[in-house]
């Protein structure tokens, strides 16, 4: 590769007055910014390697390190800002596709911040969620059109056979993160948090690590285009099976885990030889249509004897509503929709930042369409991709989802500072690295507590918002867009979202 002409993006400084040369920064930084010079007994800094993850700052016992963005680097220009110049330089050096990770970091696509939540005043009473019952339990799965009830000597017997359901104690679930995108310590932390919070963790397409087996009833297993580690016992293990068609961060493309990341542990879970690329094709070659999708859904149902719900996950794209209608009719129990701000362990930058539509638009249009067709009640909807707070979760349910998927939020709870370097495999916080000497930085017992704390806090906040608007059940919020108002939105945007402007 040609020599880089980029300027360093960050200034890294050590205050020599307070630094005790303990070398903690040398150990903590996985990008080799710091090195120890023995003769001079000081730390040398290569700031061109810094990714601004803050690991060194937090772990410096003397608090001697400071990291700041480099002051003005290029002449101010609305078209040619630092990012666009650097991207061109990188591609000119390498001739390759720009890789990135985490979710889209551009400000343009957020609707959550332009939606406001209602509350009760005078005309109907608000409810105090701390002292009054507030139901946030959510059942995901197919619901029957009607119940046939027969009378057996005074006892009512429900004759309608029930479809399998997932019971969530709170409508917050952990989105798919495979073994390979994150390491087993992260997966186990999430599994423990899911178990203690009464919710589910999606383990993605990367096989099932033996350490996760004991959390089976809180796991969702995924079947994606690579079919890695997918076999009968795997399908039997999960509480639900998710067929992954697309991912919000990179709709329409497959991916591959590079051979150097296929360690022994990954190889065993994915059931492929160590060292070879693990390619996930762009399509699933047994699914070219809704009819084919229906076939895979039923193949899974036959293999698991109709005992568990099947989720179909799609990326939010322009015609999501029509696709969702097809999925609802294909026999799926749950649709998961992943918005364009969704995170990833690795994706081409051009896909992450340009392909797909925001989750708010997708959920609103899917909910509207399924309602128009009279099939919304048949199927449950999980929304993911870009949910940052309990209010985002709340708003997406009001726009029409049954529950939401979070993953970036859970990673941040475990230390992630969204430096967007997951694809390098060097995550200094020990999250997205497969290197056992770094992944040991995640202690599942400790980190699961943080994640569970977060879910608890959000659940309390959701109850507060529900109570404020005088609603005592999350079911009454679902698709209840009267409780939302838009600010700074065009008429057409509000029409799609199904909300009225604030003030009306």
């Amino acid at each position: 590769m040609l020599r880089s002409r980029r300027l360093p993006e960050y200034n890294v400084r050590i205050d020599t007055d307070t630094c005790t040369v303990c070398k903690a920064c040398v150990i903590q930084c996985t990008f080799d910014v710091f090195s120890y010079m023995k003769i001079e007994n000081k730390i040398s800094i290569d700031e061109s390697k810094c990714v601004d993850c803050h690991r060194c700052m937090i772990y410096c016992p003397d608090k001697s390190i400071s990291i700041t963005p480099t002051p003005i680097q290029y002449r101010p220009n609305a078209s040619w800002n630092k990012e666009s110049i650097h991207n061109i330089m990188k591609q000119a050096e390498s001739g390759g596709i720009l890789l990135t990770s985490m979710g889209c970091d551009k400000p343009n696509y957020n609707y959550f911040d332009r939606l406001l939540i209602n509350a009760s005043q005078v005309t109907n009473p608000s409810i105090d969620p701390i002292r009054e019952p507030m139901e946030v339990k959510t059942y995901l799965g197919r619901k029957p059109d009607k119940l046939t009830i027969s009378d057996n000597n005074g006892d009512s017997i429900i004759e309608t056979s029930e479809s399998p359901q997932l019971l969530l104690e709170t409508p917050i679930m952990f989105s798919a993160m495979s073994l390979g995108s994150v390491n087993i310590n992260v997966q186990e932390s999430l599994a423990m948090a899911a178990a203690s919070s009464g919710t589910y963790q999606n383990i993605g397409e990367g096989g099932l690590h033996p350490r996760l087996k004991k959390y089976a009833k809180n796991l969702i297993v995924q079947v994606a285009s690579g079919r890695y580690g997918v076999h009968k016992k795997y399908l039997d293990t999960g509480a639900a099976v998710e067929i992954k068609i697309g991912q919000g961060a990179k709709p329409g493309i497959g991916g591959h885990l590079p051979g150097e990341k296929i360690t022994k542990e990954i190889s065993e879970a994915r059931r492929i030889p160590a060292g070879t690329d693990a390619i996930s094709p762009a399509p699933q070659h047994d699914i070219y249509s809704i009819e084919d999708l229906s076939q895979l859904i039923h193949a899974i149902k036959e293999a698991t004897e109709y005992s568990k719900p099947v989720i179909v996950k799609i990326a939010a794209v322009h015609n999501s509503a029509a696709i969702a209608s097809g999925i609802a009719r294909s026999g799926a129990d749950i649709i998961a929709i992943d918005g364009m701000r969704a995170s990833t362990g690795a994706a081409p930058l051009v896909m992450r930042d340009n392909v797909g539509i925001p989750i708010e638009m997708a959920i609103a249009s899917v909910d509207t369409r399924l309602n128009q067709e009279g099939i919304r009640d048949k199927i449950s909807i999980i929304a993911g991709g870009g949910i940052r707070s309990s209010s985002d979760a709340f708003k997406i349910i009001a726009l029409g989802a049954d529950a939401c998927y979070i993953s970036t939020v859970a990673l941040i709870a475990m230390g992630c500072t969204v430096c967007q370097k997951c694809h390098t495999g060097k995550c200094p916080w020990g999250l997205t690295t497969m290197n056992p000497s770094i992944s040991i930085r995640i202690n599942p017992k400790m980190e699961s507590k943080r994640v569970a704390n977060l879910v608890r806090a959000w659940t309390l906040e959701i109850k507060d918002m529900l109570g404020g608007m005088g609603i005592n059940s999350i079911e009454s919020l679902r698709g209840n867009r009267h409780q939302l108002r838009g600010v700074g939105l065009s008429e057409q945007e509000m029409e799609i979202l199904g909300v009225r402007p604030a003030g009306i």
Partner: protein
């Protein structure tokens, strides 16, 4: 308790049975301890033997539908007739023997097991075959196959005998596209191969595998073993186990 009669051959008539009803009957027979199941009058019912982990001998008379033996792990299925698309989809182990032709994506993503096809196969046969430790899938095609044979193969072996092939050329292009493991061994030429593969001579181990597979093929369908083994075979192998190593910037 299983009596002798309950483990005898179980015969099910699939006539007028819906897919789900037929598969439920098969599962019930397995639960009752039957090790041999004959299914008569099969006409397009899907997912037969889906996810079966017990070691069962299943004989199918008629034409089974798509996803025959999907997720199957260990059983033996013999089809007296043609089979449809996605036969042996994501199979773990076991054997599927088809006395006729098969549709598209036969053996898709299979991790182990054997599939013997007496005649011809459709498009994308053996797409994304894998292998892992002791498991190595083998697909033997008696006749010919269509485009994208062995696409994305990460392991396993496809052997294509080219019996009754007209003009010595298989009407298959893009053979082995995206291949990064395993091998395709074939008699005759193909219209085109993927850029990720190269043509090689068979080594001793390949020759032994071909000999063994042809003998098995003959056992199932009857054929002149020596004549087939006398024909010239060649092998397609991936150039690299890392075909897409240099696609990306940083």
């Amino acid at each position: 308790m299983n009596t002798k009669s309950s483990i005898s051959k179980f015969v099910v008539d699939a006539k007028n049975l819906a897919t789900r009803e037929l598969n439920e009957k098969i599962r019930e027979a397995i639960r009752d301890g039957h090790k041999q199941i004959d299914i008569q009058n099969v006409s397009g019912q899907r997912y037969i033997a889906a996810g079966i982990q017990e070691l069962i001998d299943i004989e199918i008379f008629g034409v089974p539908g798509n996803d025959l033996g999907v997720f199957m792990d260990g059983s033996k299925v013999v089809v007296h007739g043609n089979a449809q698309d996605a036969t042996g989809n994501t199979m773990n182990s076991g054997e599927i023997i088809i006395h006729g032709d098969v549709g598209d994506i036969t053996g898709m993503s299979a991790r182990g097991g054997k599939i013997f096809i007496q005649k011809n196969a459709g498009y994308r046969t053996g797409v994304h075959l894998k292998e892992y430790q002791g498991l190595r899938p083998i697909i033997v095609i008696g006749g010919t196959a269509q485009d994208f044979l062995g696409e994305y193969m990460a392991g396993g072996v496809i052997i294509m005998l080219g019996l009754n092939l007209k003009g010595g050329i298989h009407n298959a292009d893009y053979v082995g596209t995206g291949m990064h493991g395993g091998s395709i061994i074939l008699s005759g030429d193909v219209r085109g191969i993927g850029r990720e593969v190269e043509v090689q001579q068979l080594d001793q181990e390949d020759n032994r595998l071909v000999e063994h597979s042809v003998q098995e093929y003959s056992k199932h369908f009857g054929c002149k073993v020596d004549e087939i083994l006398g024909s010239k075979f060649k092998k397609l192998k991936p150039v690299s186990t890392r075909p897409y190593g240099n696609l990306y910037s940083y």
